[in-house]
């Protein structure tokens, strides 16, 4: 049941597959990837220089997966993501001001600044949960998918998590339930080769996360997570399957994380040669080169996209930095729906 769509041992060496996507889709993928990268680069610059301070778990390097999701999913499809969710949130359509606003603790944030980096939700965009607890997303996604099934809606729930999450009990419980009840879900593993600071070969006996799918009775698919077209193709299959009542899929997208677990991570545990190879396979410049090589877009046209992304990021940041911090009465707000006789 497991399909390995990567070419060999290292997915980064696999040839770029070219599924039948229109130039417009390729352009949209690049726009999203450029915006995700620009949003990350600006945060990195700002935190490193002391311009502003926020806690941040950077997804730099994982953009291809989130861009494919952004193209593939409908606005009403559900997403559950994690603390490393900047790219996923952008892909699913959360406005940058609401994301940055949460990182910086400003009232313009998705949660009026109270949730912080790890806890961003925006149901209007289908983003129901970002969790700070590794492995906690899949059980909630089960409930979201159950709700769609019960309401007779053809919406799909995608739950995004890392390789580390697949070692938790709650992942196992949820995967079993999802398969058992044929839930309209995609379990999207962004395998960035490290669970916090520990490499996957030290945390699991098997080589491929996708192989775990067989144990639950669902298809497992492994793709090059640095190739947006490969992810888009596999994700589209999984989403269509879920939408048509065929049940869940475990989709493993093999990728890399350039900035370590948290921003400021010294990354002493990453061998220099692995980092060098990963940088050489950086999905954003790689996809850019490919679009140019295929004659789809000129360097100049893609430069314009990069400039527009950087400008959008600057504008969002300026809006956020000018916005007020939450007033003290936010402390007692939204603790309860009905706070009668609850402690304050």
């Amino acid at each position: 049941m497991t399909t390995d769509r990567t070419a060999g041992e290292s997915p980064d060496e696999s040839p770029d597959v070219s599924p039948d996507v229109s130039p417009d889709v390729s352009r949209r993928l690049y726009e999203l990837m450029a915006l995700m990268k620009a949003a990350d680069d600006r945060l990195s610059k700002g935190i490193a220089s002391g311009e502003f301070l926020c806690v941040y778990w950077p997804p730099r390097g994982q953009e291809a997966i989130a861009a494919a999701m952004g193209v593939c999913l409908r606005p009403d499809d559900r997403l559950v993501t994690t603390y490393r969710g900047l790219h996923d949130l952008i892909g699913k359509g959360v406005p940058l001001v609401e994301i940055y606003g949460e990182l910086m603790g400003r009232q313009v944030g998705a949660s009026r600044g109270k949730g912080g980096t790890m806890h961003i939700a925006r149901p209007e965009s289908g983003v129901m949960l970002s969790t700070g607890i590794v492995g906690a997303g899949p059980p909630v996604a089960v409930g979201l998918a159950m709700a769609a099934q019960r309401k007779g809606l053809d919406r799909v729930t995608v739950v995004s998590f890392g390789d580390g999450a697949t070692n938790t009990g709650s992942f196992h419980e949820a995967a079993n339930m999802a398969a058992l009840w044929d839930l309209p879900m995609v379990l999207l593993c962004q395998n960035n080769l490290y669970a916090e600071m520990t490499p996957t070969e030290h945390t699991m006996k098997i080589e491929h996360v996708a192989d775990r799918a067989k144990g639950y009775g669902m298809p497992g698919v492994r793709v090059d997570g640095n190739d947006p077209l490969a992810v888009l193709s596999a994700l589209t299959d999984a989403v269509n399957r879920a939408r048509s009542g065929g049940g869940p899929t475990l989709l493993e997208c093999v990728t890399f994380r350039f900035r370590g677990h948290y921003f400021g991570d010294p990354m002493a545990y990453i061998p220099p040669e692995q980092m060098a190879a990963a940088v050489a396979a950086d999905p954003v410049p790689r996809f850019r080169s490919r679009l140019v090589a295929q004659g789809l877009y000129s360097e100049h046209e893609l430069d314009d996209i990069d400039v527009a992304a950087a400008a959008a990021v600057e504008e969002a940041l300026a809006t956020v930095m000018a916005a007020p911090v939450p007033p003290s009465d936010e402390l007692d707000r939204d603790v309860y729906g009905n706070p009668q006789n609850c402690p304050v």
Partner: protein, 331 residues
């Protein structure tokens, strides 16, 4: 009817009244069901009374996800000792979603669970762990002592906008009492109830502690001591005004619960009473809870762990002995 039947009726009427309500948990559908869910899958179908794998984290998580989409799920964690496996979902997600998302998502779930203490089941199938959840902003914690309260409080919990931990007590499930069968009957969360009025001391309890307190009150009555029994019914929200009102009259308080005494719910009750009534109290607030040991399996030992009338009477006598005013004196 029995507590079990009263809870069954609350679930039955909620399922009938509102399509958003569904139940999920281990062995809750017929023919495997034996507790308060018995008969409900036959009546409403297995889509609405859903047997799950033995997966407590996913049971709680699934309830949360469905609740975020507008459902009112009632999840069952069969025995409270198993709730640790679901704790991340309850503590880090259900409790905090509303706050963390600025009200954009909420998890109005009800988690029903049962305390098995007193059945000889040993240390991992006996615990009263309600204090854990009292410590989490965003949750509500409910422990009924009578069939009437059970029905009224469970109905409120199911339709409450906040996540509720509804703690049932196996030793109370067969206890009988009068129960309004009207589907509109409910008891608001956060309202304590005087189960027996009295003058000389207030016995404050919840769940099975109320039953033991009533037994102790009967014994004390024979000794000329008039004990009031105040049933908290919900630990969070906590009816502080009712506690203070009662103890202001009696000037003495003993808190009774099956949870471990040390750092148990009684500690919060005692602290509040002493803050609110310092100078008016005739004696320090006493607590009678389970002893600070893992629950033993042998009945002869287990009987020594939980509060009983003798231990409560002894605690009352300590408050009377240390008191500065006389029993029955009101001035």
């Amino acid at each position: 009817m029995t507590m079990r039947e009263a809870l069954n009726l609350a679930l039955d009427q909620a399922l009938a009244a509102d399509e958003r309500v569904f139940l999920l948990g281990e062995d809750i559908a017929d023919p495997g069901a034996s507790g308060p869910t018995k008969g409900l899958s036959t009546k409403y179908g297995v889509d609405r009374v859903l047997d799950t794998p033995i997966s407590e984290a996913a049971i709680a998580g699934a309830a949360i996800g469905a609740a975020m989409e507008g459902f009112l799920p009632v999840a069952e964690i069969m025995i409270m000792d198993f709730i640790g496996i679901a704790a991340d979902q309850i503590i880090n997600h259900a409790a905090k979603l509303r706050f963390m998302t600025g009200g954009r998502t909420t998890a109005p779930i009800t988690v029903r669970t049962q305390v098995y203490g007193g059945l000889g089941t040993g240390a991992t199938h006996a615990q009263s762990l309600e204090a854990w959840f009292m410590h989490i902003p965003g949750l509500k914690v409910i422990v009924p002592s009578t069939p009437r309260d059970g029905k009224g409080l469970l109905t409120s919990a199911i339709f409450d906008p906040d996540p509720c931990i509804f703690v049932e007590t196996i030793r109370l499930q067969s206890q009988r009492g009068m129960v309004p069968v009207d589907p509109g009957f409910s008891i608001p969360l956060g309202e304590a109830d005087i189960k027996k009025p009295g003058r000389d001391v207030t016995l404050i309890g919840y769940g099975r502690g109320v039953v033991e307190a009533l037994g102790a009150a009967a014994v004390l009555e024979q000794d000329g001591v008039s004990a009031e029994v105040l049933d908290l019914r919900t630990l969070l929200p906590l009816d502080v005004p009712a506690m203070v009102e009662s103890v202001r009259r009696t000037k003495r308080a003993v808190v009774v619960h099956d949870a471990v005494e040390f750092a148990g719910p009684g500690a919060e009750v005692a602290a509040i009473l002493q803050r609110e009534l310092f100078g008016e109290l005739a004696a320090p607030v006493e607590r009678v809870g389970a002893r600070f040991v893992p629950n033993p399996a042998p009945p002869v030992l287990e009987a020594q762990v939980y509060p009983n009338a003798d231990r409560i009477v002894a605690a009352v006598q300590r408050t009377l002995a240390r008191g500065t005013s006389t029993v029955g004196g009101h001035g």
